[in-house]
Point group: C2
Chain length 213, copies 2
């Protein structure tokens, strides 16, 4: 995954045509496009392959199953040319290891803490351990909340030079430049871009904001 | 979901034709068919609709995302006539509530504890809270490990009359009758059935074992 604009598009549009249109407008302004299950279930996994012709694609499937099932999901994703995949650490080291092994060198990102309010109930108390698990399992990076820059700093201290990807920027309230200042390698922005009247203009504005850091 | 044989088939075959063949062989011996992402990604979400013509279908997607994404995944599943969906509780009450609200009366099952070794690292210490969360969120039932009957008993004490579905029976080592004796309403069996030379015969044997309880 290149690191030029520090911006990843969360393409959470569920209509296939609209999603591809947004991707075509902004693919050269972002470092990667992240897709989630709502789009993939609606459009079929083939959409990952289509998008991969424009950009690196990260499958944000937040895989959270037993090792054997995790392995099968990762293998399915690789068939369609994804560059990376997001997994949960909560099911334990064996489940994460199964993903890293199955990824054959593609990037695996482990969720350390999510950006929504409920994440403080069970996940936040475990963030340090989940971040350490990512390091131990040989993950390429982690997901840390763009809504809480002080947590990004904290997670950076644990994961060293692993990549940090931070969602929650834009509609959820986080500021791109704050997240990057705090140590995020990439900010992940969804609705602000794909719901914009001019997705490319909005994406460029975010990139400029980040560059002003 | 009917409760006649107390047996749910985990249809983790990833080849669409093979999966449909197994389903046709055993659909009247099981109370429901459970599908997971490896099959759905490979065959497309339409496979849920095809299977729903034979049986109740539970989408074991172990949903583990922010409330808005969870809602979108559940809505996609409902379009294809699933009877139920499995979600994780560790993202917090808001994420589970989003699934229950979106399910419009279909069954939502919350994972309390999984059957693989890694589940003892982070999940098991939280099992009681996740079980209580299922009750509080208005879930139809919970997932409890068929490999650990004493844990099924413990979880039953917390969830009262919610349904308990227990995977891990068969290849993973759990015994169907032990899980039912411990309080499971349904046991979930995968490989022992779909990899059997005679899936129907194997399914009937498991049902007979359960009935001998």
């Amino acid at each position: 995954m290149k690191k030029e604009t520090h911006l990843i598009l969360a393409l959470d549009e569920t209509d296939r045509e609209k999603a591809l249109n947004v991707a075509e407008e902004v693919y050269d302004v972002v470092d990667a496009i992240k897709v989630n299950y709502p789009l993939v279930l609606s459009a079929g996994i083939g959409v990952v392959e289509e998008l991969s012709k424009l950009s690196d694609v990260i499958c944000d499937f937040k895989i959270a199953d037993i090792p054997n099932t995790n392995m099968l999901i990762v293998k399915e994703v690789l068939k369609h040319n994804a560059s990376g995949i997001i997994v949960h650490g909560f099911m334990g080291g064996d489940s994460v290891k199964a993903c890293v092994d199955a990824a054959e060198g593609r990037d695996v990102f482990v969720v350390t803490e999510m950006s929504h309010p409920g994440a403080v109930e069970f996940m936040q108390p475990l963030t340090d351990k989940l971040a350490q698990l990512a390091v131990d399992a040989g993950a390429a990076g982690v997901i840390a909340p763009g809504t809480r820059p002080e947590r990004i700093k904290h997670i950076r201290d644990i994961v060293g030079d692993l990549l940090i990807l931070s969602p929650g920027v834009g509609v959820q309230g986080g500021k791109a430049s704050d997240a990057v200042s705090a140590g995020a390698d990439y900010v992940i922005v969804g609705r602000s871009i794909y719901k914009s009247d001019n997705p490319r203009k909005t994406a460029v504005e975010i990139v400029n904001e980040i560059r002003g850091v």
